[in-house]
């Protein structure tokens, strides 16, 4: 990982790029820096903290934020007194490891790579230039990013909601949406930033949680765009928890009094003028490409679009204009975290295909000495107590802790170290293990979350099994948080060491666990997502079988003529189908269905019912791409009058009823209601696209779109603008007052809708009515039952984590993409399919995979086969199996087990225990604590 680096030039082509990089000096040796923070504590130079949006101060030597990777300090030379005035060097004087390098120099690095992934991110819109909001002058006008920091426990106010003018807790906060988005008058960002509606709701909800007193929150918005998975439910929850939503775009903010209270004037929907005071106003600022990203894109020679986002095609959503360079995240266009993460995996997939021939060629395996066996030998524990410079030793009495450790049972050897993690100490630990015949090691230092792997490797170098190791966290969870009480910190450290030693004496060696991988994939569903996933794997050399229920490949894309950017779908689709059929590594099974499956990551066995009879397939991974479809409504005369159609049926009807002068689109038909409390995401864009197409061909026709919130997110907003420019009439309706479609006596249609602006009912004569009906997943419950996958209340499959693992299931080796996950446009389905293939390739690219051996263990003698463990396991890692003469017995599947121990805690017979976290090992710590 190269930080503080900038790409200065690039040369070559796909497969063989030379990238020139300028590395700025950090002035801190990352090998030596232990992230203790002593330097920052002693540094006398303060400056504004950028991470906290300037709401707090940082030092000239700093880490940008506590979770920074690498967690190493850096000197800001512009602020450093030594660099500016020639003397100080306090950091150097106090650094316990001699890590300060004032003579650090700029470096030029040249890298030879095959692919490049561009993820240069975004810049938040700066509202300083908007005169009417007076952001720079009024202290209680904040940007949403500033407010985000105020809400953060690690922020300038430790999460307490206060207003800057007087540090008082606000009673009323307003959010103004679309600041720097959907605006061509006051800025140049005509697009929607896609994420601000959601984050404003989130900020309002958290603010209410954090506030000590009752807090009134109001969000002023134009269209509430909660189009993501489960977002609409969050919006509904916010409304029920008292967040006030007002549909109005605020023109200006003025001061109400001397204390900084602010006044907003706005018009309600019915045209009534109101004036309301707020203690704090948050500007929900939009996203822009950062100027640095634009410059970097120019250096890479990749094309940008009119808004200076990287230009891509709908059918190739992460490929830039230059072969071998891929893009992910907001550099390509405004989007949220789940979408950015998916694109990142998709970009990795494209790079993986391009570099497939050289996969694994630069890998080197580390070798360890043979593991010693100890049999029944008594524990001989070595305890290493770390001073961590002065981080531990400066607060707790390390010699006293070490002395105390010597008195504990089974402790054979104790040592104090200045830095237990330093290279020379590692070597000393290996020597001590050998010299004193140690068979368990305890390190009392920082946290196992960062340092356990390092020490486990060290003891492996001495021939010890890595699980004969335990840490006592006496820094992060002791001296750092009890720094004012040296005695208490020392006593607590002793207790923690005693607990660690008690547990260590019961630790056992655990053998490595790896499973062979069957290097092929099963893809369920032959739509665009399924085919893309299969191709993405086959192009990397991993065979794939597509199981498709219907008689043809293509899925719901067969109905689409063009994407919203105008790309023709059918030629693309036929080419994709041809590629799939012709690929030597792809087998297509049409009119086939998965009926049963067993196994686990790397080793699945799936039974498929085909026309020719049942077939069994062995495969290493599963990709679920079962798709979805538009629902058939029972309202608005659909199915009763031939002039009422849904989705792309309209195109057929336009031909059939030529000369139709008036077309009405109705949105949210079956979406965002009680039965389906979700937004179908693609309907607004589709109807607007269709409306524009009609207007372009027949400008004289009347086209109406009846909608609830216009959700043309991202650059789709421009299409909405275009539709209005072309004269498409948009009328908003509410769920409580839905439009009515009626047949007149002459057999024509009329649509009656209440217009909230005119405050009256309109009667629209319609020749055609087209319904944007809800998108539903195809049947998911069978596949969910077969592979033990989670589905949500609306029957969409549930990913393991919306943001962190958006294309994976909780069970290993099973991935998700396309409409089965949530309604989405073609480009997003393709990106998600590539992402699923990318994640699947992390399994398929290895002959065997190492899995954590810290898994459940079933005692078949104690098990009564009640099946509670099977029920509680979220990973399908335990099942009931017939044991001859005994009935059903639980059996664990180590490769699927995550080691959470839910089964062990639930087992009424105590028949299940967890390796490395056995009941007895945990109880040993518990008993040693008081």
């Amino acid at each position: 990982m190269l930080t503080l680096c900038e790409v200065t030039a690039i040369d070559g082509d796909e497969g063989n790029f030379t990238v020139e990089i300028r590395k700025s000096p950090r002035y801190v040796d990352v090998e030596k820096c232990i992230g203790c923070g002593t330097c920052a504590e002693k540094c006398p130079a303060k400056t504004s903290d950028e991470f906290n949006e300037g709401l707090s101060k940082r030092k000239a030597i700093y880490v940008p934020y506590p979770q920074a990777v690498p967690l190493k300090y850096a000197i800001d030379a512009q602020r450093c007194i030594y660099f500016q005035k020639g003397k100080c060097k306090a950091c150097e004087k106090f650094c316990p490891t001699g890590a300060i390098k004032f003579d650090d120099q700029e470096e030029n690095i040249s890298l030879n790579v095959g692919s490049i992934i561009f993820t240069a991110g975004l810049k938040a819109f700066d509202p300083s230039g908007l005169a009417t909001y007076e952001y720079t002058r009024l202290p209680n006008v904040l940007t949403s990013i500033e407010f985000e920091r105020i809400l953060s426990a690690g922020g300038p106010t430790a999460g307490h909601v206060v207003r800057p003018s007087d540090n008082r807790e606000p009673r009323k906060i307003a959010w103004l949406q679309c600041v720097g988005s959907r605006d061509l008058n006051r800025c140049d960002n005509p697009y929607c930033s896609s994420v601000c509606c959601m984050y404003a709701i989130k900020e309002a909800m958290i603010a209410k949680e954090h506030a000590r007193n009752e807090l009134q929150t109001t969000i002023f918005f134009m269209d509430m765009r909660t189009h993501g998975k489960d977002f609409e439910k969050y919006y509904e929850r916010a409304k029920s928890e008292g967040i006030n939503f007002v549909r109005s775009r605020i023109h200006s903010i003025s001061e109400a009094d001397q204390t900084g209270t602010l006044s907003l004037k706005y018009a309600t929907e019915s045209g009534q003028l109101k004036e309301e005071e707020f203690d704090l106003v948050v500007l929900s600022v939009g996203m822009e490409p950062s100027p640095d990203a634009i410059k970097a894109a120019e250096r890479l020679g990749i094309a940008l679009n009119e808004h200076e986002f990287v230009s891509t095609e709908d059918t190739n959503p992460v490929r830039s204009s230059r072969a071998g360079i891929y893009v992910a995240g907001v550099a390509q266009g405004c989007k949220d975290i789940p979408q950015s993460v998916m694109e990142a995996s998709a970009a990795a997939c494209c790079a993986g295909i391009s570099l497939a021939p050289s996969r694994g060629t630069l890998v080197r395996e580390k070798e360890f000495p043979k593991e010693k066996t100890f049999g029944d030998e008594e524990p001989r524990i070595g305890v290493f107590v770390c001073n961590c410079g002065s981080n531990i030793g400066g607060i707790a009495d390390v010699p006293a802790i070490a002395q105390y450790a010597k008195s504990l049972p089974h402790v054979t050897y104790v040592e104090e170290n200045l830095f237990t993690c330093s290279q020379d100490t590692q070597e000393k630990i290996v020597e001590s293990i050998k010299e004193h015949g140690l068979n368990r090691i305890v390190v009392a230092a920082c946290t196992p979350r960062t340092h356990e792997p390092l020490f486990q490797e060290t003891i492996r170098n001495a021939g010890l099994n890595p699980y004969l190791f335990e840490m006592a966290n006496i820094r992060n969870q002791c001296t750092w948080v009890h720094s004012s009480s040296k005695e208490e910190a020392t006593e607590k450290s002793k207790d923690l060491v005693r607990m660690a030693v008690a547990r260590a004496s019961l630790l056992e060696p655990i053998p490595d666990l790896s499973v062979q991988v069957s290097k092929s994939a099963l893809v369920i569903g032959g739509g665009v997502a399924g085919m893309t996933a299969a191709l993405s794997l086959a192009d990397q050399g991993f065979p794939a079988t597509i199981v498709e229920k219907s008689e043809a490949l293509g899925g719901s894309a067969r109905e689409i003529e063009r994407t919203w950017t105008g790309a023709k779908v059918q030629p693309y689709l036929s080419a994709l189908v041809e590629k799939v059929k012709a690929h030597p590594d792809i087998q297509v099974m049409l009119e086939s269905e998965v009926v049963n499956a067993s196994g686990f990551v790397g080793n699945f066995e799936t039974e498929v019912a085909t026309k020719e009879g049942p077939q069994s397939i062995s495969h290493g991974v599963v990709i679920v791409a079962t798709g979805g479809h538009a629902t058939e409504p029972e309202e608005y005369l659909y199915g009763k009058n031939p002039r009422v159609t849904r989705w792309h049926e309209l195109e057929g009807n336009l031909k059939k009823f030529q000369g139709s002068n008036s077309i009405v689109f109705i949105q949210c038909v079956g979406s965002r209601d009680e039965k389906r409390p979700y937004c179908s995401r693609i309907c607004c864009t589709t109807s607007v696209t269709q409306a524009v197409a009609v207007k372009e061909e027949y400008p004289q026709r009347d086209v109406y779109i009846l909608y609830r919130d216009m959700r043309t997110f991202g650059e789709r907003e421009l299409l909405y603008r275009k539709a209005r420019e072309k004269g498409v009439i948009f009328i908003r309706y509410s769920l409580e007052r839905k439009p009515r479609v009626e047949e007149t006596e002459e057999g024509l249609l009329q649509v009656i809708v209440f217009d909230p602006i005119l405050q009256r009912e309109l009667n629209i004569k319609a020749d055609l009515v087209n319904l944007a009906t809800a998108i539903e997943p195809a049947e998911t419950d069978k596949i969910a039952a077969i592979y033990k996958l989670a589905i949500n209340e609306e029957n969409f499959f549930m990913e393991a984590h919306a943001k962190l693992r958006p294309v994976e299931f909780a069970s290993e080796g099973i991935y998700l993409c396309g409409l089965a996950h949530y309604p989405k446009p073609l480009d997003e389905s393709i990106a998600q399919a590539m992402a699923a293939a990318s994640r699947a390739a992390t399994v398929l690219s290895r002959p065997s995979i190492h899995v954590s051996p810290l898994v459940s263990q079933v005692d078949a003698e104690k098990c009564i086969g009640c099946g509670l463990c099977v029920e509680v396991c979220g990973f399908g890692a335990i099942l009931l199996e017939e044991v001859e003469g005994k009935g059903m017995r639980a059996k664990n599947i180590p490769a699927s087990c995550k080691g959470c121990g839910l089964c062990a805690a639930s087992c009424p017979q105590k028949a299940i225990d967890m390796l490395h976290f056995r009941d007895q090992q945990i109880i040993a710590s518990v008993c040693a604590a008081p």
Binding site: G37, N473, G899, C900, G901, I923, V926
Partner: protein, 66 residues
């Protein structure tokens, strides 16, 4: 009773609460030194027996966080 300091056993999930406790350290957030942490791989691992055991062995309180 003013000098009374309870001893609290905390079962912390490795992936969230334990990481949070580490982060409190990185951020130098100060809190009373009464807590003794037991790291578990999931708060679901905490068997009621552990809690009873902790209280019987002399802990005054138990925190399960995950």
């Amino acid at each position: 009773m003013t000098d009374y300091e309870p001893k609290i056993i905390a079962f912390l999930c490795n992936w969230c609460a334990y990481a949070g406790a580490d982060l409190a350290g990185v951020s130098r957030l100060q809190y009373p030194a009464n807590l003794r942490t037991v790291r578990v791989m999931c708060s679901g691992r905490v068997d009621p027996v552990f809690i009873i055991k902790a209280l019987r062995e002399g802990s005054d309180g138990v925190l399960v966080s995950g």
